[in-house]
Symmetry: C2
Subunit: 336 residues, 2 copies
């Protein structure tokens, strides 16, 4: 993952350098910043947007400090089927902790986890998910959680692809992140999922540091105990970074309205509306999961990643809708 | 401000470049990264720390993504006397809004503001301050607030120095920020004050972008009204980023324990304890206001910026205490 990232960065850097070299001139326009995208309108619109806001001579120029881009995580950057990846993590943790919590065998959402009842798990909303997340944080400090989270992300295998969960990130979207960063964008993940788990793998998987990941979170408090000064988690919700919560999380954490926003479901609608509501050139993009063969196909009727209202609004507003089937040349780095 | 910042950046950049130039070799060690600091132990310790954690061959080396530094704002980076600068801002706003809020003439903390009663104002705690902050946000969206805040910071004058408030930042501390950034640190402001006002001037004054400012905040909500999609403020406290709140704010926003933390008062104690509590080399520094002539002298008995318990702990733990009188060659850029 890290390697891919550096290779692309090197291409961009060398592209800049080559322009100065008198011996061999290379036209930077010939270097494709999005090699895993098929040629077509979606790719063209992304490149047009980035080129225009980064070009000082363009009427659409945006100063680097205002080049803020926000990405949803589940279903936009990483596979969210057959269950949110965070659920797989929470399931592992809940099973490990079940012996010490006998009540869980009779109480949802824990019961469905212990029984491996995927059909019930699929129907759970974000509050159930977050209850599991809270349980998965129990009894450890953040350093311990970071290690457990990263170990899971880079080792536990996705049931369909038989690859570590951190490998189920969409290569074309990773290229968009890298392309934006190479053009002085600040790129943030803004996820409905728990922020702590994403932070354990975001830097290595996406090149996005912990302080550029916004997400749902439980409360925590500072204490000086036998392990010294620590921030420890409390079993209480603090902030749900989903739907209307996404623009609020963006305002609190980033303090600026994004000029580009990327999502895949109705949970991302408000984030895209917030981005669209500013002045100047904007880019709003929805990833449409329409490739049952290479990944999954789901939209209006799905429990997970439902894309219904946001899709209609995207069409009405002229936002980009990327078809995974047609726009993505490949989906995962491990495929071919 | 911006100009100073770029000049220093140019010095660092040219320092790197000169090393590669075969004609004229300059020893980078001869370029002083902290010219506004007097020679002495404090300056030496700061430079030692930064050199060691940035040196790949040092046992104290820290990877760039973990080089997190946090700074308190009031009294650490900017003058907080005779009142927190945010209070001066809130006073201007409250006076402008007083005609529409006749009740304020009889209710604290508004009454003291309207009556210019500085003695009472000095006794106010953070909750009173935040009530004024909430009032100063009333009836506008964030774009309007940004404009009003920046106009105030760069135009309204400090009563003692007769300079815009944004000019009352401590030049030696600004140099520390720039020195850290030049060594690939990520620098954050972590303030007990309201986050929105600091964000209106932090980039121009300190070179710190909005998304690296953590602070106290009021609640807000997303709405699509007649002005389109907006995040609007609500008259209710959301988070107080002071004392025990600072490590919590750091964990929520940054997601990593700082390796360096800078403060000046008991409100910063827990942030410094949190930084000190991690493994590896650490830098904790308190700014001691002991220069009545060039700025103000206050510590254990002060209502604003009380430095008492934190001072004792700093001495016991061997944290750095910077004397403004002895360590700062100059305090403000506007002074000679």
């Amino acid at each position: 993952m890290k390697c891919r990232y550096f290779v692309l960065l090197l291409i961009f850097l060398s592209c800049g350098k080559m322009q100065e070299t008198p011996i061999e001139k290379v036209n930077p326009a010939t270097i494709d910043p999005l090699p895993s995208w098929n040629e077509g309108n979606t790719k063209k619109q992304i490149i047009n947007f980035v080129s225009q806001v980064s070009d000082e001579n363009s009427a659409d120029y945006v100063a680097p400090e205002d080049r803020i881009a926000t990405f949803d995580n589940d279903g936009t950057l990483i596979c969210e089927q057959p269950l949110y990846s965070q659920l797989f993590f929470a399931m592992e943790r809940v099973k490990e902790l079940a012996d010490n919590n006998p009540k869980w065998r009779e109480t949802q959402p824990f019961k469905a986890v212990i029984d491996d009842d995927h059909e019930t798990l699929k129907t759970f909303g974000i509050m159930d998910l977050l209850q599991l997340v809270m349980a998965s944080h129990t009894g450890m400090n953040s350093e311990e959680f970071n290690e457990i989270g990263a170990t899971w992300a880079f080792n536990s295998l996705h049931p369909k692809f038989n690859q570590p969960f951190a490998n189920t990130i969409y290569q074309p979207m990773l290229e968009v992140i890298q392309y934006l960063k190479a053009n002085d964008f600040q790129v943030f993940i803004v996820s409905g999922g728990g922020v702590d788990l994403i932070r354990t793998y975001a830097y290595e998987a996406y090149g996005i540091p912990t302080y550029q990941v916004v997400g749902s979170r439980i409360k925590s408090k500072f204490e000086i105990g036998e392990n010294g000064a620590q921030v420890v988690k409390l079993p209480e919700m603090d902030f749900i970074d989903d739907k209307e919560g996404k623009p609020v999380g963006i305002a609190n954490f980033i303090g600026k309205r994004p000029i580009a926003a990327f999502g895949n479901s109705d949970g991302d609608l408000q984030m895209l509306q917030y981005a669209a509501g500013g002045n100047g050139k904007r880019l709003m993009l929805l990833v449409h999961h329409d490739d049952a063969e290479r990944e999954y196909a789901y939209d209006r009727e799905s429990h997970i990643g439902k894309l219904d209202k946001a899709w209609d609004i995207a069409k009405a507003q002229g936002w980009l809708v990327a078809s995974m089937k047609n726009d993505f040349k490949r989906i995962f780095a491990f495929q071919e």
